[in-house]
């Protein structure tokens, strides 16, 4: 038991590395005006396509180089992080609330409620998600809130399916039966007996979903359907970088690396949290 505990503890560099990157990126995004070395929108054609700092021809103050319009890449990545994190938190939380609630109801109550919710989920998941998102944003109009709504509306099914399955197995547990005998109502049992046991999965999924929201936002801004302003987004930078891949590879590579690191961190952070949250594993 103790050895297992120690083994589990020593796994948590994963939690620290992932959490560290997320905190760093989040702080940079929040304090972007203070942290960013340059104005992310300032164009300077004299400084176009500067390479990153370790290559010949780099300019001090432009650490990751510049794009074809001479805008500082690092500053654009930092400001782009603002949109990414806002979308990640808002969209994932909305999807989580919607999906988990429906999943809990379907899994615990069963019967017609389950049949109805499950059918809706089946139909929903038959739509290709990215096309669905593009369609939704096209209908809702571009803008931050449209992106958030689109992601929540598409991805609640992910929560619903997992939480439904867990709630179903919880509903068969003896302590749920004891609670029924004691006279708890259905909602009371869902909140007191079932929810605490599915919470670790909710947390892990929530974190994973934040990563997915970052990707979807990047995809939407890649196809120019995210926010309508000139504000930099990671997907937008990637789209620009794609055009100049032969002249300035860094404009494509750095936002991709940032995106991958962030998404990976979200999923690893979630798994780490789940292990921490679960009293049996702890």
């Amino acid at each position: 038991m103790d050895e297992a505990r120690i083994a589990r503890r020593s796994l948590s560099p994963r939690l620290w590395l992932a959490g560290g990157w997320l905190v760093l990126a989040l702080l940079a995004a929040v304090f972007a005006p203070l942290v960013a070395p340059q104005d992310p929108l300032a164009q300077d054609l004299m400084l176009e396509r500067l390479p990153p700092f370790w290559l010949d021809g780099a300019e001090p103050g432009y650490w990751l180089g510049t794009d074809s319009l001479g805008r500082d890449l690092l500053s654009r990545l930092i400001f782009g992080g603002r949109i990414a994190f806002i979308v990640a938190f808002a969209a994932a939380t909305s999807a989580c609330l919607l999906g988990s609630t429906l999943g809990l109801i379907a899994g615990y109550l069963g019967g017609w409620a389950d049949r109805m919710i499950s059918r809706i989920v089946d139909v929903w998941m038959a739509f290709p998600p990215v096309l669905f998102a593009i369609l939704l944003v096209a209908v809702l109009g571009t803008g931050l809130s449209s992106v958030i709504i689109a992601i929540a509306v598409i991805d609640w099914t992910r929560f619903c399916r997992v939480i439904r399955a867990e709630a179903m197995s919880q509903a068969r547990m003896d302590y749920v039966e004891s609670a029924r005998i004691a006279g708890y109502g259905r909602i009371g049992i869902m909140l007191r007996e079932v929810l605490p046991n599915v919470l670790p999965s909710v947390v892990a999924l929530l974190s994973l979903e934040m990563g997915i929201a970052v990707i979807v936002e990047a995809i939407l801004s890649f196809v120019n359907l995210s926010i309508a302003t000139d504000d930099p987004t990671w997907g937008g930078i990637i789209a620009e970088g794609r055009l100049s891949i032969h002249q300035a590879w860094w404009v494509l590579v750095f936002p991709l690396v940032t995106l991958i690191l962030t998404v990976l961190s979200f999923s690893q952070f979630g798994e780490g949290l789940k292990a921490r949250f679960d009293p049996v594993l702890r």
């Binding site: 609670a179 005998i181 006279g183």
Partner: protein, 292 residues
């Protein structure tokens, strides 16, 4: 004075029409321990679940009535039935490993029911739980109350569950094979505890078990169950002195004895089983569900 639990001609069927309870009648007087014995699948647990209102959805009661202290459960609406069952009964479950919520600490889990369902003050619930933990001989109640279930041994968890069952002073406790999942050395202590608390609190117990040794130790009355039918009912002493039904005699003969540990186990005799099958078939022939 009405019986604590009164079951009349209770029959239940599965969706395919198969009967799982065959016109079961039994009473538990206040303060009495009634044992329900039978092999697995005999419907012992089903009776307990029926009383507590937690039958699986697939099992349907088609006949008979259940009265708790004179109140007919069938005549109450769902909410009133839940309230009555919650206030007057409790369950000591079979498997202490799955009967406690793994993600909640023991303390809140125990007091929650008293406070939320029965409307006790937090202080009263705490002191009550403290007293009960003392009665089930848990030495450091403070520590136990702060624990998560997985931090306690099976025996400790069963003590906690026994304390929780007695906490609200129910009139009737259904004990569903409460010692089966435990280590043999712990079984005896747990049994003694249940008997002790039962005497002290004057609670009636419907004690479901397959172990005749346990029956002899704890109960005053016994109902022997086979295939959902009560084949014999008697006072415990009488049953052991002079079992009437051939199945009861066969069960007793099948019980392994400590005095002769190398004797081979005796299965129930074929002739007895054939007789039982005939008896069940006969009762099914005569049976017409009153409604349903």
């Amino acid at each position: 004075m009405s019986a604590c639990l009164d079951i009349h001609h209770l029959s239940a069927v599965l969706p395919n029409g198969q009967r799982v309870l065959r016109s079961v009648s039994l009473t538990v007087q206040p303060g009495e321990v009634r044992a329900l014995v039978g092999e697995s699948g005999a419907g012992k647990t089903m009776i307990g679940k029926a009383v507590l209102g937690v039958l699986p959805k697939s099992v349907r009661i088609v006949e008979g009535e259940m009265l708790i202290e004179g109140e007919d459960l069938g005549r109450l609406d769902a909410k009133a039935r839940r309230t009555l069952i919650g206030a007057r009964t409790a369950l000591i479950p079979q498997d202490p490993l799955t009967a406690l919520n793994p993600s909640r600490r023991i303390g809140p889990q125990m007091t929650d029911r008293l406070v939320r369902i029965l409307g006790w003050s937090g202080e009263r619930a705490d002191s009550r739980i403290g007293q009960l933990l003392d009665e089930v001989q848990i030495r450091d109640p403070e520590r136990v109350l702060r624990c998560y279930p997985h931090e306690l041994s099976g025996g400790m968890r069963q003590r906690v569950l026994i304390a929780a069952a007695f906490a609200a002073e129910p009139r009737l406790i259904v004990a569903d094979e409460p010692t089966t999942a435990l280590d043999v050395t712990v079984q005896k202590q747990i049994l003694r505890l249940i008997a002790q608390l039962q005497r002290d609190h004057g609670t009636a117990i419907l004690f479901v078990t397959h172990d005749l040794g346990v029956v002899a130790k704890i109960s005053q009355k016994v109902s022997v169950l086979y295939a959902g039918k009560v084949v014999e009912e008697a006072g415990t002493a009488d049953l052991f002195a002079a079992p009437q039904h051939p199945y009861t005699r066969a069960l007793m003969a099948a019980t392994p004895r400590y005095t002769d540990p190398y004797a081979s186990l005796k299965p129930v005799d074929e002739a007895v089983l054939a007789g039982l099958a005939a008896e069940i078939a006969a009762s099914d022939r005569d049976w017409r569900p009153a409604h349903g």
